[in-house]
């Protein structure tokens, strides 16, 4: 698809730019479709298996479609002891999905993550990169409402 090439091409002459190119693709559609990986391999002149290897190495990249909003819940030790499990339970209740799943309307995907560096108040979740620190189970519905 020409569409991906357009996104990827600007990085062609950046040494090691494939990761930046993948970031750019994901900024548009939240995951890396097979065609995007094949296109990237062509643009950067590397075997498809290598481009695929890069795409699957990093936890930020997904080769499966995801929702419009990606909710990541930190489960590193500081957030773990601060009650990350209760936040997960609350999110699962509100959204009717489990970790790794996407809501039927394609809106929210839930993922686990390790520390996102916002531990000044724990537990922490991020929604499309925006951090919410010191979240309580009661706040979950309110936060989700921001994305209605």
């Amino acid at each position: 698809m020409a569409e991906f090439k357009e996104i990827i091409m600007p990085f062609k002459n950046t040494p090691g730019g494939i990761i930046q190119a993948f970031h750019a693709v994901q900024k548009k559609i939240n995951y890396l479709p097979e065609n995007a990986i094949i296109d990237a391999a062509e643009v950067f002149g590397i075997p498809v298996k290598e481009a695929y290897g890069v795409a699957t190495f990093y936890s930020y990249f997904s080769i499966k479609p995801r929702g419009k909003y990606i909710i990541r819940i930190c489960e590193s030790a500081p957030c773990h002891v601060a009650g990350a499990a209760e936040i997960i339970a609350s999110l699962e209740r509100e959204l009717g999905i489990k970790i790794g799943e996407t809501t039927g309307d394609g809106k929210f995907t839930m993922e686990l993550t390790e520390c996102v560096g916002q531990c000044q108040a724990t537990p922490v979740i991020t929604i499309n990169g925006k951090p919410y620190a010191g979240v309580t189970p009661q706040q979950v519905a309110e936060i989700l409402a921001e994305y209605e």
Binding site: P15, S76, V81, C119
Partner: protein, 407 residues
């Protein structure tokens, strides 16, 4: 009570990070100018004499590292700032970059002069998109004012892999590859990015450079602990009253950090343990909390200073459960390149899970200790080598907790 000493964070809250004029009026970029009036080897010597050691975890003498790269003839050399900050419970590099980006850029440019590099990279973790914007703004402003001279800096965004904080994995990632650590030697100062001599330093390390050039090696060497001078930015998390960041001289004790600055344990509970340096750090029991936080003192009690994360747990916590969580972290973050780490982190997690579920035995605990020894010596990089530390230190210091859970 001991007091904070804000050197790296001297501009925190005092300047607008998005205005280079603010940094300039605070005396910014004078050190770069001064460094450029010195010959490169002189700069390296000042750094060496200051005793500054890396703030990213390994504690290597920064000037010594620069000397290796300075000494090699090459058509191209690189300066890389490690802003991957993936160590759980750590956010000090974010605080520095968000509030004073130019202090990092200036340190990098001084390094560039010292080793003879004109290209720098900042590898910033993907979780900090706002920081990437701040850095890019700062770079553009410094360029526009001609402050960096012929030194270029490009920001690269990571994509969520803890191992990419390891310097050779980070280099692989900048090159656009899977972030798997390289075999060493050669070390990056000899052959790093695109096989060229490369200095990789932590954000906080670079943030220390300008003041050393400005105030001199002796001034710096006189602050804090003798063998690990200067200050350290710490981030306090877990069961602690004040979840804050602080900057203190390196001869501050753990007790002062937790009970002084941190205000102790909430709800009248008692202290159980503190894990310092991030998730691969050792757990420290109460008997050692008079230890100072500097690198060598921590080593003596089989702990680390690491990234400066300070994670406290109170007496009501199930330490075996916490360590099981940590074991899962390492299984997940192991890159899979070397077998001892790939298999070892998986087995450690399996055994910890079993013990945590009440299904383990004393033999499992013994096995964990043996496996830890194997991993510490056989794993390719620091990830696998240090992964068993929380397990071993808790077995050693909190053996009763394991005993209570095994059959």
């Amino acid at each position: 009570m001991a007091e904070e000493l804000r050197l790296v964070l001297k501009n925190f809250g005092k300047i607008n990070p998005l205005k280079v004029e603010d940094y300039l009026s605070a005396g910014g970029y004078k050190s770069l100018e001064k460094a450029r009036s010195m010959n490169p080897l002189e700069v390296v010597e000042v750094m060496k004499k200051s005793g500054l050691r890396g703030r990213g975890g390994a504690g290597f003498n920064t000037g010594q590292k620069w000397f290796f790269a300075h000494n090699i003839q090459a058509d191209e050399k690189f300066v890389v700032c490690n802003a991957d900050e993936g160590e759980p419970g750590t956010y000090k590099d974010r605080i520095i970059m968000e509030n004073d980006p130019h202090i990092v850029l200036e340190g990098m440019a001084i390094c560039g002069h010292a080793i003879g590099a004109t290209q720098g990279y900042i590898y910033c973790r993907g979780e900090y998109p706002g920081v990437v914007d701040t850095l890019n703004t700062a770079i553009a402003q410094a360029k526009e004012k001609g402050l960096l001279g012929d030194f270029n800096i490009e920001v690269r965004m990571g994509a969520g892999a803890y191992v990419c904080g390891e310097e050779t994995a980070l280099i692989e990632s900048i090159e656009g590859n899977r972030g798997e650590p390289r075999f060493r030697p050669p070390y990056p100062p000899v052959a790093g990015l695109w096989q060229k001599p490369t200095i990789v330093n932590n954000v906080e390390t670079f943030a220390n450079v300008a003041q050393i050039i400005e105030k001199g090696a002796e001034w710096f060497a006189g602050i804090g602990a003798k063998s690990f001078p200067g200050t350290k930015v710490l981030t306090l998390t877990g069961d602690i009253n004040k979840k804050i960041f602080i900057e203190v001289p390196t001869d501050t004790t753990i007790k002062e950090v937790v009970f002084g600055f941190g205000g102790g344990i909430p709800d009248g509970k008692k202290f159980k343990a503190v894990q310092i340096g991030g998730t691969s750090g050792g757990f420290i029991p109460e008997e050692f909390i008079e230890t100072t936080i500097d690198f060598d003192s921590m080593r003596k009690i089989e702990a680390t200073l690491g990234s400066g994360a300070v994670f406290v747990i109170d007496e009501t916590r199930d330490i075996v459960d916490v360590v099981t969580r940590i074991a899962k972290f390492f299984e997940h973050e192991s890159c899979g390149k070397c077998a001892p780490c790939r298999e070892g982190t998986m087995r450690v997690h399996l055994l910890m899970d079993r013990i945590n579920d009440g299904k383990g035995s004393q033999a499992d605990v013994a096995l964990l200790k043996k496996l830890s020894r194997v991993m510490a010596s056989a794993c390719l990089c620091g990830l696998g080598q240090a992964a068993p530390t929380p397990v071993v230190t808790t077995i050693n210091h909190f053996g009763m907790d394991y005993h209570a859970k095994v059959q």
